[in-house]
Amino acid sequence: MVISDGRELYSDVSNPDFKSFGKDLYRKLKCNYPKFFKMDTLCKLTFLANEFITRDIDLTPYNKDKTAVVLSSSSSTLDTDTIFTTTIHAIPSPAVFVYTLPNIAIGELSIRMGWKGENLFLIDESFHPENIVDQVNMLFTASQTELCLTGWTNYLSPTDYHVSLWLISEHKNVQTRKLTSMELLNDFSV
């Protein structure tokens, strides 16, 4: 299921398997970005959520050098780690190994969007909205950051995955809501 700003955009309960659901979403988004097919599952999941968020927003007022990405996850790259482990005694592939680092998801978004700001990938047992509020507020106070893509991305298996991302601006405008743990938790639990 895909929910964006509280609206259900796409749901296919008969087909929750990410392998096909992810491809369906990619086609639906019409983003024409062949690099998508080279990505591992955690990157694909994160990439798709970012596409849903950013496709309808005018980001031109924001400086790309001051746009940060802060992600957290429990699974990290376990899915790809497991795949790479099976190849160690055969022919290990650099194209798989590179995806055994979770921050590659930040790298993929940065390439897609041209974002060159602050980066941080955290591992946590579960989604903690107060941690996200802390991280974003610290970036706005202590760095040049003016826009931050942040959230939770977790991929354990084709039927056990979840991504929730938010784009948070330092400045208020007509579309914005106030950043609070409660707002994030409400979005996350929909």
């Binding site: 592939s93 790298g107 202590a142 040049q144």
Partner: protein, 385 residues
């Protein structure tokens, strides 16, 4: 006028001092031992063939037997993986020289690592809970009585520098008074196979910045720093820092050093007067060339620069922590340590690589770091005069 944002959120009332530290590498299990070996220009990189069918490769391995013996004297009733043993001994050694109260809600533990307990992942076996890094961090934090929920930074080779930057930001924000950062990674079959697949491992011990460098040497190790709001006996502080992405390629650094240039530019806060640069210097062709471009773009290419990786290899998630500790002691000792392995200059843009150790007053220094995913980070350290 400078406000908090423009000067990196740093004011005179918000200082982050390094008050205690420990390093464990092939060169020893204490910072003192490691530095005494660096003084003697000894390398801990040696030929091992611990995994697979690989012929002997130059790798820096810790003395696991000695670490196990020391651990048994501290926690005799719990069993630990090799990764956990390294983290625990480093943490123990740093805490025993410190008055920091792990049990205070104003004290935070941050674990920095790339692959943690990855050796527990075996083909065809359901992974144990300790494969999850947050479980590893909680197990370690619990042993020392930390009560704040630990934070895990997992951001490739810049993890250590990012973790220390995060510690400084937590202290500036007022949320914590003391942050204990432990960076750890071990050499495993998984990591060896990965770097070998990239053909990025050197045939001989790595030669950062040398014309004939042919790749990195993997290393394992741990580093712990305690960063505190209040100054204690020593007087090196973290003044500013930043991270940035190349937005260019996931496995190759930017040809122009774009992200590293941006990270260092933001970290330097328009004050390019520094006395020493501790570079990332992995000794791969691409990394060292990229760093030379970034350093030249910043117009700090006359400043003495070294890489510590010739002494104990690339320790991945521990590298930033270990090398910031070594930068701190370089400053306290007013010493520029030799960039081991460098014989003939051979990077794309000229650098002032330290080929002979020498005395120099070090007041303000820059630490650089870069990693897969196009990530880069930089931190500035200052001596409190």
């Amino acid at each position: 006028m400078l406000n908090g944002k423009e000067n990196g959120g740093c004011s005179k009332h918000n200082m982050s001092y390094i008050t205690s530290d420990n390093i464990i590498t092939s060169l020893g299990n204490t910072t003192k031992e490691v530095i005494s070996n660096i003084e003697k220009e000894t390398t801990g990189i040696d030929y091992h063939h611990p995994y697979l069918n690989y012929t002997k490769a130059p790798i820096s391995m810790v003395n696991s037997k000695k670490i196990q013996e020391e651990i048994i004297g501290i926690f005799s009733d719990v069993t630990f993986t090799r990764f956990e043993s390294l983290a625990i001994l480093s943490l123990h050694n740093a805490l025993k020289n410190s008055i920091v109260d792990a049990g205070s809600p104003k004290t935070l533990f941050i674990l920095s690592t790339t692959k943690g307990n990855i050796e527990l992942l075996k083909q065809g076996v359901k992974p144990s809970d300790q494969i999850f890094l947050h479980n590893t961090a909680q197990k370690i934090a619990g042993l020392f009585g930390f009560i704040a929920r630990p934070v895990v930074v997992c951001n490739a080779c810049i993890s250590g520098v990012l973790a220390i930057l995060l510690a400084k930001r937590y202290i500036d924000s007022g949320k914590y008074d003391d942050v204990v950062v432990t960076g750890v990674d071990i050499v495993t079959e998984f990591v060896v196979a990965g770097f070998e697949s990239f053909k990025s491992m050197s045939e001989k011990p790595c030669k950062p910045f040398d014309a004939n460098r042919d790749g990195l040497s993997l290393g394992e190790g741990a580093g712990t720093v305690i960063i505190s709001r209040r100054k204690k006996s020593e007087s090196i502080k973290i003044v500013s820092g930043s991270s940035a992405n190349d937005a260019n390629h996931i496995s190759g650094p930017s040809r122009t050093g774009e992200g590293l240039y941006l990270a260092a530019k933001n970290a330097l806060l328009n004050n390019h007067k520094i006395d020493f640069i501790s570079a990332h210097g992995t000794a791969t062709q691409y990394n060292d060339d990229m760093e030379s471009h970034a350093i030249n773009r910043l117009q700090i290419n006359e400043i003495p620069v070294n890489s510590f990786k010739g002494y104990f290899g690339h320790t991945l998630g521990a590298a930033g922590v270990i090398e910031i500790i070594l930068t701190k002691h370089s400053m306290l000792n007013n010493m520029l340590y030799t960039s081991l392995g460098m014989e003939n200059a051979g990077v794309a843009s000229p650098l002032n690589v330290i080929t002979h150790k020498q005395k120099k007053t070090l007041s303000r220094c820059l630490k650089l770091s870069s990693g897969f995913g196009g990530c880069n980070a930089a931190i500035v350290l200052e001596k409190d005069e």
